[in-house]
């Protein structure tokens, strides 16, 4: 990339199953005020705000109206990306690269506890062909998981190993909704939701918010102790109808990753990337997305987890934060991937720090079965 966008600072709430005391503005103000304070900045330093939330989850048309005072948009430029948080980061980066603005406060919020997840996730399907069948996110991801496992011989145990690893990592993340030591057997014997997805293969319902400060190169250098640079960023959308693509392959992710790597000058991701924060709503996704991002051949995801390459201390730690399996709300989840990857590069990831992390990958997706994919390369630099 010719120009660089830097991440100056990040802030997260603790993710909790039901933040019953917090209204949306309270939850958002917690992170937006803190991220400024911790970086010695004021709202006056922010030229613009990019917010990130979903009308359906908030139960409110124009969900950014709810949080306007809490994200500091009074008589300021603000816009809302109604997709996964990685796409919001992408949009914030573009607005900075345009030269129109120098800085951006990005705030992502969601309280999954307030609505009905199955109903909301059923509304994502088209009203002509698919919605009437009662699909939701979980049941369609189960279709993807099954297809993937069938086509490439991925086993339920391998998926369970992902859950074991990420839930264990979650123990070291103070923001995580949950972290625990579970065994493969426990995952395998947890309640069956939709074959092959069991309770511990699936992310929990959770509430929370995440804020990031992004800035142009000049401002980021001035403001950040360790600015984190976005060196590659790309997204792609695949077809919508479930039967239109072979769900065992993620062409949109392959294309997005390839583009992002080209921008960042990466030729061998396995060698050149130190860690990955990816969107593991369900355990199988970690394996499938790793393939999509070129860390192994199609179908090679199972081996990666089996050989413990993606564990803390492995060649390529994946989701040191504990990932979405340890609990991040949808939409916010993508912003958290970027925030967690940035913390790693800043060397501020505490107990979950990957030693010497210089280059990290953040991945987010939205739409049925990972239809839309976004990949962001973050790195340390001068």
């Amino acid at each position: 990339m010719a120009d660089r966008v830097g991440i100056v600072g990040v802030c997260q709430t603790k993710y909790e199953p039901r933040k019953i005391f917090d209204s949306y503005p309270e939850m958002v103000f917690e992170v937006s005020s803190k991220v400024l304070e911790e970086n010695g900045l004021t709202i006056g330093d922010m030229d613009q705000i990019v917010s990130n939330s979903q009308d359906f989850w908030d139960g409110r048309t124009i969900s950014n109206r709810t949080v306007s005072e809490a994200c500091g948009s009074t008589l300021k430029a603000e816009s809302k990306v109604a997709m996964d948080g990685t796409f919001a980061v992408f949009y914030a980066a573009m607005r900075l690269l345009s030269g129109c603005y120098d800085s951006c406060l990005l705030v992502s919020h969601c309280k999954m506890s307030e609505g009905s997840p199955h109903l909301i996730n059923n509304a994502m399907f088209d009203p002509l062909y698919q919605r009437i069948l009662g699909f939701d996110e979980l049941s369609t991801c189960a279709l993807q998981a099954k297809r993937y496992m069938y086509k490439y011989g991925i086993t339920a145990e391998q998926c369970a190993q992902v859950a074991v690893k990420n839930l264990r990592n979650g123990k070291r993340n103070p923001y995580a909704h949950r972290g625990m030591d579970v065994t493969v057997e426990q995952v395998m014997s947890s309640r069956m939701l939709a074959n092959p997805i069991k309770e511990l293969d699936a992310y929990p319902v959770t509430d929370g918010a995440c804020a990031l400060i992004l800035a142009t190169e000049e401002k980021a250098k001035k403001w950040a102790r360790t600015p984190v640079w976005i060196s590659g960023i790309a997204s792609r959308l695949d077809s919508f109808y479930l039967g239109d693509r072979d769900l065992a392959e993620v062409v949109s992710l392959e294309l997005a990753a390839r583009k992002a790597y080209r921008m960042a000058g990466i030729t061998n991701p396995r060698e050149e990337i130190d860690l990955v924060e990816l969107s593991d709503y369900y355990s199988y996704q970690e394996l499938l997305w790793l393939e999509g991002m070129g860390f192994c051949q199609r179908g090679g995801g199972g081996k990666m987890i089996e050989q413990e390459m993606t564990a803390m201390g492995g060649d390529l730690p994946v989701n040191p934060s504990g990932g979405i399996l340890s609990g991040n709300p949808v939409t916010v989840a993508g912003a958290v991937r970027v925030a967690e990857a940035a913390l790693q590069i800043m060397g501020q990831a505490g107990q979950r720090q990957v030693e010497g992390a210089k280059r990290a990958l953040a991945q987010g997706h939205c739409g049925p079965c990972g239809q839309g994919q976004c990949v962001i390369v973050l790195e340390k630099g001068v």
Binding site: I62, S79, S98, M124, S239, F240
Partner: protein, 388 residues
Amino acid sequence: MARRSKRNVAIVATGQTDHRSKRPDVNIVEMINEAVRRCLDDAGMTIADIDAVVIGNMEHFEGIFFTEMWSVDGAGSFLKHGMKITTGGTTGSSLALAGYYHVASGLFDTVMTIGWEKQSEGETTAGLIFQADPLWERATMSGAIGSFAASATAYMHKYGITEEQAAKVAVKNRKNALNNPHAHLKLDLTVEQVLKSKMLAYPIKMLDMCPTSDGACAMIFSSEEKAKKMYQNPAWVVAGVTRHDQPFGGDLEMVMNLRTLRSATEEAYKIAGIRDPLRDLDVAELYEPCSFAELSWYEAAGLCGPGEGGKLMDSGATYMDGELPVNPSGGVLSTNCIGATAMIRVAEAAIQVMGKGGQRQVPNVNRAMATGFGGSWWSDVMILSRTP
């Protein structure tokens, strides 16, 4: 706070459906596709020329969550970068601004933006009530009309604005719509007819209010290199500004004084080098959700002083043959497919700059302004020019 972009960006094409109260002949994706094909035709492009698609609507109006995902086939975003941006009434202008930022970032050369709404498929007032705060506003909220009405009374009270002056806006814009093949309501009305139309919520009568429409609008934003190579007369984006505000209607003066538009236009004029907007602009497409609003928006946009919106209307300055024609397209009072509405303002301003306005063309347009309105009394402003 905002500046002109580092790279020049031009609008090279637009496409609209013929807006109607109901389009039972097409589904949502097909309606979007109609605008996209018209836009590609206008550009002389194929979908392969498009690098990215930015789309939006008001999701609760149709009750569909992942509209950007469902519409991939019709919008032409298959295996491309795609994004959904939704900001209520300003969705269309937020999308147009997003098209501008996408190209200005240097990451994309040719970007399509699409705003749409198929209001006949849901309940507009119910959809708008979702927009109100569940604790503080929902019980009293009656769609958009109520808050326009409640603050229009304050506007009239403070400045002596009359119902007749507002009715003139309703007459002017519907008459302008007669020249616009895409417009939904094309009516040759009298002030009398407006005043005698059914009272909805005092002082707003049926003909003071925008309709609900089914329709879509698409635009193509292009880098300077491509625009100059392929197009004789594109519309260059010379300023883009957004202003949001406090969360509750009661925090603001609403129709009486739209301060976000005041703040946004002041900044946009500064960026574009406009000193006297009434003189320096050649045409304006203002997002007027009701007749009273257009009068007040004149004031906020600096076309006249506070409280002088009625007088400016009386002077005839904003008619087709006036000093600054406002809403030659017929405006929102003639067409309102909400997610597209603010984009139509930008598209119509671009059409004027490109000289493609046909019967609604204002002669010799060098600079045009488009505004978006929505959310919690938010505003977007874009200024387009014949020269970069």
